[in-house]
C-alpha cells in the first residue's frame, strides 16, 4: 500500500491563483502524517484531490502505483476512506446505520446490508468502544462519539488509507485526547493516516511525520521534532512560541507553548 503525490497543483475554476502549488510527498504503511498550516492554505483541497473529488489538478497522485485519475469512486473507496469533521447531521440515523454506510461498497447495487454486514459494523464499533450506542441517534451523541462512529465507518470500508479533516475540531479537551489515541493505535496497526490539525502538540504527541503547508506550498516536511521549531511556527502562524522538551518517565517529547505577544495572561 502506498500513496505518492508528486508535483500536485490545483486552482479553482480558471482563476490563476494556485490553491496548491507543486506539492509532493509520499506515505507508507504505519505512517501518521500530520498536515499543518493556517486556515485556507489548501489542506482540504489537497485531501479532496487525493480522494478523487477534484479531478482537474496538475501533477500526479498514485495509489499503489496507479494514477487515481484512472480510478472511479468505487475503486478509490476500496483503498482510501474519508473521515470528515463530525458535524451535526441533518438526518438523525442510528449510529449503527451510520457505520453500516461504510459497507456500501460491499452491498449489492440494489441490495441492503445483511446480517454479516451488521456483525461486521458491530465488531468495528466494539473495537472503538461505541457498541453500546448502536441504536442511539447519531445526532444525539457527543462530538467525540460521533468522530469515533465516523472512524468505525471508515474501518469497515476496509480502506488502508484514512484521510481525516481536522478530526479533533469541535471536540472538548478529553475527547481530543481519546480520539487521537485511537487514531495513533490505528497507525500502529498498519493503517496510513493523513490528518490535518491546528495543534502542533498533536503532531508532536501522535504523528511520526509532519507536513507544513503555507500558501499552497509544502514549506517543511519531516518528523515533527525536526521540522516544527519556533521560527517556522512564527513564520506560518505569526505567534511566538517556545518549544520545550518534556520528560515524563521514560518518554520524552516536545511541547509547544505560546509565549507573550498579546496572547498571555494580563498582569493585574
Amino acid at each position: 500500500m502506498s500513496l505518492e503525490i508528486s508535483r500536485l497543483s490545483f486552482a479553482y475554476g480558471r482563476r490563476t491563483r494556485l490553491v496548491l502549488d507543486d506539492v509532493s510527498f509520499s506515505v507508507k504503511e504505519g505512517d501518521l502524517l500530520a498536515v499543518l498550516g493556517p486556515n485556507g492554505v489548501g489542506k482540504s483541497t489537497m485531501f479532496r484531490c487525493i480522494l478523487g473529488f477534484l479531478r482537474n489538478y496538475r501533477g500526479n497522485i498514485r495509489l499503489n502505483g496507479l494514477d487515481i485519475k484512472t480510478l472511479d469512486h468505487k475503486e478509490i473507496a476500496k483503498h482510501v476512506a474519508y473521515i470528515p469533521q463530525s458535524t451535526h447531521p441533518i438526518f438523525n440515523y442510528t449510529v449503527l446505520d451510520v457505520v453500516l454506510m461504510g459497507l456500501t461498497n460491499q452491498v449489492r447495487l440494489l441490495g441492503t446490508p445483511d446480517q454479516s454486514h451488521i456483525d461486521e459494523a458491530y465488531a468495528a464499533m466494539e473495537n472503538l468502544g461505541i457498541a453500546h450506542l448502536r441504536n442511539a441517534g447519531y445526532g444525539e451523541i457527543s462530538g467525540g462519539e460521533r468522530q469515533l462512529a465516523l472512524i468505525a465507518r471508515a474501518l469497515v470500508q476496509k480502506a488502508k488509507i484514512l484521510i481525516m479533516d481536522e478530526p479533533t475540531a469541535n471536540l472538548d479537551y478529553g475527547n481530543q485526547f481519546r480520539v487521537m489515541c485511537r487514531i495513533s493505535d490505528l497507525a500502529r496497526d498498519g493503517y496510513i493516516i493523513i490528518l490535518s490539525t491546528h495543534n502542533p502538540d498533536h503532531a508532536f504527541l501522535y504523528a511520526n511525520r509532519t507536513l507544513m503547508i503555507y500558501g499552497g506550498r509544502v514549506i517543511a516536511e519531516g518528523t515533527p521534532e525536526d521540522v516544527l521549531d519556533a521560527g517556522l511556527i512564527k513564520d506560518v502562524y505569526g505567534v511566538d512560541v517556545h518549544i520545550e522538551d518534556y520528560q515524563y518517565g521514560s518518554r520524552c517529547h516536545k511541547l509547544c507553548i505560546p509565549i507573550d505577544g498579546g496572547i498571555g495572561k494580563h498582569e493585574w
Binding site: H73, I76, I90, T104, T112, I130, L133, I141, S142
Partner: protein, 395 residues
Amino acid sequence: MVDAEPMRSPLTTPTGAAAETRLHTAGAASAPSVSDRELPDYRLRFILLILAAFFCIIASFAVGRFSLGISDAVLILLSPAIHFAMSMDVPILGDIVRILLSPLIPVAETWDDAMYSVVWNIRLPRILAALLVGAALSTAGAAYQGMFQNPLVSPDILGASAGAGFGAALAIYFYLGTGAITIFAFAGGLVAVGTAYAVSCLTRGNPTLGMVLAGILVASLFSAATSYIKLVADTNDQLPAITYWLMGSLAGATMGDVYFAGMVIIIGLVPLYLFRWRMNVLTLGEDEAKSMGINTHLLRLIVILCATLVTAVAVSISGIIGWIGLVIPHFCRMIFGYDYRRIIPAAVIMGGGFLLLVDDFARTIATTEVPLGILTAFVGAPIFAYLLMMGGKRS
C-alpha cells in the same frame, strides 16, 4: 488588586462504574439514555399502518353523497370474483365456494345497478387515484428531501408542479379535452424539471444548491406563463377550469387515468425502492457519498428522474396538491426513523392513506367538492406546525 484564592467547586461523580466506562468511550457528554437503547418494533408499526390504510380504503367506498353500507360495498367489490369462482367448471372448488358464500349470497342480492355503478365506476377509480397520487407525492418528497439534504423540500422543488400547471392551462386554453389535459400536464412537468436540471448542470459550485436555484427559476417562469394564459383565457369557461384544475381535485378521475398514472408511478417507485440503501448514503452529501464509492452523479440523476416522473404524472391526473410531499415524509421519519429502507415503503402506504382520507373529506364536508389543494393545506399546516414544535422539544 484582589487576592483570589484558587477556587474549585467539588465535582459530583455520578457513580464509580459510570465514570469508568465513560473514560473508555469518549462519551463524556452523552446522557445514559442513548446507550443500549432498543429500537422500537417497526414491524408492528408497519402492520398497524397497513391495517389503518386498509380500513381507510374500505370505509372510503361507503363514504359519499350516495351512501352505501360498508358490507354492501365490500360485496359489490367481491361480486366479480364470486361470480368467477362460481362459474368455474372445477366441480369441487365451485361447490366449496358456493357453500362458503351461501350465507352471503342472499345479502349479495340487495344492491341495485346504481349502487354497483357507484362502487365500480365512480368510487373505485377515485380511491385508486387518491392512493396512487398520495403514494407518489410523498415518496417523491421523501426522495428529494434526502437528496437535497433538506427536510423542507417538497416534490415540486424542481418545478414539476409549475410545469404541469402550465401544460394543463395550455390544454384548457386550446379546448383539447380531458385526456389531453393529463398528457399536457405530464409533459409540462417533465419539461420544467428537464430545463431546471439542464440549467443546474451549467452552474458551478455546489450541485444541489445550483439545482434548487434552477428549480426556483424555472418554477417562477412557468407560473408566469400560466398567469399569462389565465389573463388571455375566456373568463366564462376557461379561466374557472384552469383555476379549479390548479387547486387540485380527484373528482374527475377515471379508470383510464388510473391505468396511465399507475403504470408510470410503478415504473418510478420501483427504482426508488431498490436504491433505498444508497439513498441513505446520498443524504450524507456529495463528498462523503463519493468517498464510500457511490457514483453520486448517476444516483442523483436516477432519483431525480424517478421522483419527477411520479410527481408529474400524479399532478397530471389530480391537479396541484401541496403539502402531502412535505408533511408525510416527516410523519414517516417520526414513526419509522430516518432509514430509507423503512421510509420508502412507509411513505407509499402513509401517503396513499392520507390523501384518501383527505379526499373523503373533500367529497363530504360541503355540498360542493372542496378542492384537495385547499384541504391538504388546511390539514397539513397545523400538523406541520405541531411536528415542528415537537421536533424542537425533542432536540
